[in-house]
Symmetry: C2
Subunit: 538 residues, 2 copies
C-alpha cells in the first residue's frame, strides 16, 4: 500500500450524493485540474488524481469527505503541499479542511520543530511550569525604550520577550539597533538573575533581508525569532527551521480569513496547530478566547491538541495563547491551559514599567506554586542540537572592519586581520592549526567567506562533515586531504572541492607549514565532528 496524504474536507450540502460529487471535483481540481476525459489512463487515476475514500454526515448541513492524495504530487515542498490541499478550492465556497494526516515522507521532508517543547525547556532550564512571555511594544518606541522594557521583564525572571509582530525595520526603530539594544539589556539583567531570558526579534522582509536579519541575530546571541508565516511565507518558516539553529515562534497575522466562516477555509486547529507544527514552529501564537478576537474555547482546544499530540516523527510545539490576558487572571489561565503552554501577556503587564519586574516575578512565583518541581513535564522528544556549539559565525572577538586592500606579509599574515588559534575545548579533534578570517565577516555582503588556514608540521584539522561545501586552494607547502576513502596531495595553487556531507580532514605530513585558502558559503550549517576511528559523531 503506497503512502497517502489524507485530508478531511467539510463540504456544505445536505445530501450524500452531492457531497460525493463535490469531493470528486476537489480530487480533480487539486491535482490534474482538467476535464475527466483527458485523464482516463490508469496512471492518472491511480497515481495522480486524489481518491475519495470516505464520506459521512458531519453537521445538519454538511458532510465530511476524506480524500487521499499521493504525497508525490506535493513535490515534498511546503508551497505545493498547500496548493494540493487547498490552492484552487480556496476560491470556492463551502469547503473547509477539518483534518490532515500526513505520511512519513511528508513528515520527514518538512521535519517539524527543530527544538520543540523539550528543546526549548532544556535551553531555558525550566521544566515544571508554563512559560511566561511578553511583547515589546508599542510600535513607535525607540530601541532604547524597548530595551528598558526587556530589561525589567528579564530582571523579573520572565522567560521570553518577543517583538510586537508589527516591529519590522522602520526608520523609527531599525531592526539592528533594536536587537543590539535589547540583547544588551537582557545580558545586563542576567548578571543579577543568573538565568536565561529569550529575546525573539520579529523577522520580516524578503528572503535576502530575512537572511541578513537571522545572521545578525545569531551573531548577537539571539536564540529564537518571531515570524508571521502568512506575511513572510510558509516556505520561509520551513527553510529557517531546516537551516538555522533558532527557535521559531509563529504569529497568525493575515491568516484570519481562513477562519472567518466555519464552512470555508482551514479549521484553526489544522492551520495554527497541525500545519504550523509540521512546517517547523516551536511555538504557535493564537488568540485566546475572551480576548479581542472571536476565537472560541473549542478552537483553542483544537489548536492545543494539534500542537501537543505525541508523534514519533515530529516534536511537540508550545501553544501560546495571547491577546487580552491580564495579570489578575493569568494564574487561572495557566491552570486551564496546563503546564505545556507559553502564556503571552502584553498590554496589562506593560501598563506600568516601574512595576514590570515585580509583576513578572509575582506571576512566575504563582506558576511555580501551581506547578511544583517534582511533577516535572514528561515531554520527551528526541535529542536536539544544543546552542552551546552553534554557528561558527557567532565569534564576537573579531573587530569588524571592512578593508579594500589586505596587504600580504611574507610570514603569511594579512595587514588588518588577526590570526586565531583554531582551538578546541575537547583538545583532541584537531591540532596545530591557525586560522585567519579574511573577507566575509567584516561588513561585506558576499555570499561567501574567505579564510586562511595554516596547518603546522604534524598538525591536522577536525575530521568532520557538513552540508556546506569547501573550496580549498593551496598557497604554501604541501598538504594532504583525506576525503571519504580518498587521499589527495595538495600543492600550491591546487584546488580541492569538498562535496556536501563528505567526511574530510586536512593533514600536514611534512616538516614545513601547509597553508591554504578555504572558501565557504557565508550561510552554512555547523560541522559535525566525527570520531576518526569510527566516523561517528563525537
Amino acid at each position: 500500500m503506497p503512502e497517502q496524504l489524507l485530508i478531511d474536507y467539510q463540504i456544505e450540502c445536505t445530501d450524500l450524493k452531492r457531497a460525493l460529487a463535490v469531493a470528486e471535483e476537489i480530487a480533480l481540481e487539486q491535482t490534474v485540474e482538467t476535464p475527466p476525459s483527458l485523464v482516463e489512463d490508469e496512471f492518472f487515476q491511480k497515481s495522480i488524481i486524489g481518491q475519495v475514500i470516505e464520506a459521512q454526515e458531519f453537521t445538519a448541513d454538511s458532510f465530511k469527505v476524506g480524500i487521499a492524495y499521493n504525497p508525490e504530487v506535493t513535490g515534498f515542498q511546503v508551497g505545493q503541499f498547500f496548493n494540493v490541499i487547498f490552492g484552487n478550492i480556496s476560491l470556492k465556497k463551502g469547503i473547509r479542511i477539518e483534518n490532515i494526516v500526513a505520511p512519513d515522507s511528508i513528515l520527514k521532508s518538512f521535519g517539524g520543530p527543530q527544538f520543540g517543547i523539550s528543546g526549548v525547556r532544556k535551553i531555558l532550564q525550566v521544566h515544571n511550569r508554563p512559560l511566561l512571555a511578553t511583547a515589546l511594544k508599542p510600535m513607535g518606541k525607540s530601541p532604547e525604550q524597548l530595551a528598558d522594557i526587556a530589561h525589567e521583564f528579564a530582571l523579573g525572571g520572565g522567560d521570553l520577550i518577543k517583538d510586537d509582530h508589527g516591529l519590522a525595520d522602520q526608520p523609527f526603530c531599525p531592526f539592528k539597533d533594536r536587537v543590539s539594544a535589547v540583547m544588551k539589556a537582557i545580558s545586563e539583567a542576567r548578571e543579577s538573575t543568573r538565568r536565561e531570558t529569550f529575546y525573539f526579534p520579529n523577522i520580516s522582509g524578503h528572503f535576502k533581508t530575512i537572511e541578513s536579519q537571522l545572521d545578525f541575530a545569531l551573531d548577537h546571541g539571539v536564540k529564537g525569532v518571531l515570524i508571521s508565516p502568512f506575511l513572510a511565507g510558509l516556505e520561509t518558516v520551513n527553510y529557517i527551521a531546516g537551516n538555522y539553529p533558532l527557535i521559531i515562534m509563529v504569529h497568525p497575522a493575515m491568516s484570519g480569513s481562513l477562519f472567518n466562516d466555519p464552512k470555508q477555509g482551514i479549521a484553526p486547529g489544522v492551520m495554527l496547530g497541525t500545519l504550523f507544527r509540521l512546517i517547523g514552529a516551536d511555538i504557535s501564537i493564537y488568540p485566546s478566547p475572551g480576548g479581542r478576537f472571536p476565537f472560541t474555547p473549542q478552537d483553542c482546544q483544537s489548536i492545543n491538541d494539534a500542537l501537543l499530540t505525541p508523534d514519533l516523527q515530529v516534536k511537540k510545539s508550545f501553544p501560546a495563547p495571547a491577546g487580552g490576558l491580564k495579570i489578575s487572571t493569568i494564574a487561572q489561565a495557566a491552570l486551564e491551559y496546563g503546564r505545556d503552554t507559553l502564556l503571552l501577556i502584553g498590554g496589562d503587564l506593560l501598563e506600568s514599567i516601574s512595576e514590570l519586574a515585580a509583576n513578572t516575578r509575582k506571576i512566575i512565583a504563582q506558576f511555580d506554586r501551581l506547578f511544583p518541581e517534582d511533577q516535572e513535564s514528561t515531554t520527551a522528544d528526541p535529542a536536539f542540537s544544543v546552542f552551546d556549539c552553534h554557528s561558527l559565525r557567532s565569534n564576537k572577538q573579531i573587530v569588524p572592519r571592512l578593508r579594500t586592500h589586505l596587504k600580504f606579509s611574507s610570514d603569511f599574515s594579512w595587514q588588518g586581520r588577526d590570526t586565531w588559534d583554531y582551538k578546541n575545548t575537547d583538545g583532541n579533534s584537531f591540532h596545530n592549526v591557525k586560522r585567519i578570517e579574511l573577507t566575509g565577516r567584516f561588513g561585506e555582503k558576499t555570499a561567501f567567506d574567505v579564510r586562511y588556514f595554516e596547518v603546522q608540521p604534524k598538525g591536522y584539522t577536525s575530521y568532520e562533515t557538513h552540508r556546506h561545501e569547501h573550496v580549498i586552494i593551496g598557497i604554501l607547502g604541501l598538504g594532504t586531504l583525506i576525503i571519504g576513502n580518498r587521499t589527495l596531495d595538495l600543492k600550491v595553487n591546487d584546488i580541492a572541492y569538498i562535496a556536501p556531507h563528505r567526511p574530510h580532514r586536512i593533514k600536514n605530513n611534512t616538516d614545513h607549514p601547509f597553508g591554504f585558502f578555504c572558501i565557504v558559503d557565508h550561510e552554512r550549517d555547523r560541522p559535525r565532528v566525527l570520531d576518526w576511528r569510527t566516523s561517528l559523531c563525537v
Copy 2:
C-alpha cells in the same frame, strides 16, 4: 501635509457610532496594538496610530470608513505593509478592505510591474489584440508530453504557455527536465512561425530553490514565470520583480478565503488587482465568471479596472481571466474583456492535441479580425530593460564536470578546466585577458564561483560596476587595481575587496602576466560596462 496610506474598510454594522468605534479599534490594533492609555503622547497620536478620516453608510448593514496610516509604519516592506493593512484584523469578523490609495513612497518602494502591458507587447511584437495563453497540464504528464503540447500551441501562433500551477518539481516531472524540453519544443516551432511564444514555468519551493529555478530558467532563454504569491510569498514576488529580468504572471491559489465572505477579507479588485499590480505582477490570473469558480462579473470588472487604471508611477498589468473558457466562446470573451487582456484557455483547447495548432491558429485569426492592426493599443509605459543583455551565467559552452581535485600546472592552468579568452563583441572595453572557471559552475551548490583571470602585459579588464562584490587574490606577478579614484598595487597573496557599485578595472602595467583568483557570488547581477573617460554606461 505628510504622505498617507489610505485604506477604506467596510465595517459590518448598522450605526455610525459603532462604525467609528470599530474604526478606532482598527487604527490602534494595526499599529500600536496596545491600550490607548499607553500611547497618549503626541508622537504616537500623530505619527504612529492610524487616523480615522471618514465614515459613510455603504450598504444597508455596513459602513465604509477611511483610515490614513503613516507609510513609515510599513517599513516599506511588502510583508509589513500587509500586516498594517490587514494582519491582526484578518482574525476579526465583519471587516473588509474595499480600496487602497498608496502614496508615492510606497509605489516607489514596491515598484509595480517591471514590464507591464507595453513591455510584454513589445517583446511579443503583438500590439493590436488580446493575447492568447494556455496551460501545460495535466499534472502527471511527462516533460516530453508537455513539450508536445507546447510545440503545437507555439506552431499555431499562440502567445504564452504557462505551466499548470500544480507543476512544481515532482519526481514524475522535474522542473529542469520540463523547462529544457518545453523550451526546445518552442524553439523548434519558432523555426516555422518566426515569432515569439513565451513559456512561463511555475516557480515554487523555498527561496533558495526559487533562486536556482529562476537562474536555470534564464539560462534557458525563459522570459517570464508563473508564481502563486500566497504559496511562494508576497515578498518573493516583489523581490523577483525588482531583481530578475522576468515577466511575472501571478496565480491566486490559496488566496480564496479572502473573497469568501463579502463582509470580510480583501475585495477581489484590491487583492488580485491593485495589490498584485503594486508588488510587481505583469499579468494577474483570476477566475472568469461563469466558469468553475463563483466570481461575479462585478468582481472581474473591479480586478480589470485595478490592473488597467493609468498611473504615472506604476505600469499597467494584463488581466488574465481563466477557468472554464471555451474555444467556441473565446472570441466573444475577447470582445467583452477588450484588447488589453490575456485570455487563458486550458482544458477545452487541450482536449485534442491533433487539432491544437489549428484551433490556436483559428482563435488568433479571430482576435486579429476583431482587433485590426490600425487600432493599435495606446498603452504607453516608461521604457523597460530589454532581454538582450541578461545574465552572464547563460554561457552554455562550459561542459559541466564536477571535480574534487583540480591539479595546478606551472603554466597557470588547471587539469580539467578550459581557458577562455575573455572576448568582447565590441572589441574595445577590455584587452588581453584570459579566464578560467574553476568551481561553482560544474554542479557544485556553493553560493560562490571561483575563477582565475590572467591579464597579459598592457592588458586590462572592463571598467565596470555592479551590485555584487569581488574578492580578488593575486597569485602571479603584479597588478594594478583601479577602484573609484584609488589605485592599488596587487602582489601575490594580496587580497582586494571591491564593494557594491564601485567602478573598477584591473590593469597590468608590467612586462609579465598578472594572475589572480576572483571570487564572486554565484547569483549576481550583470556588470554594467562604463566608458573609461566619462564613467557613464557604454
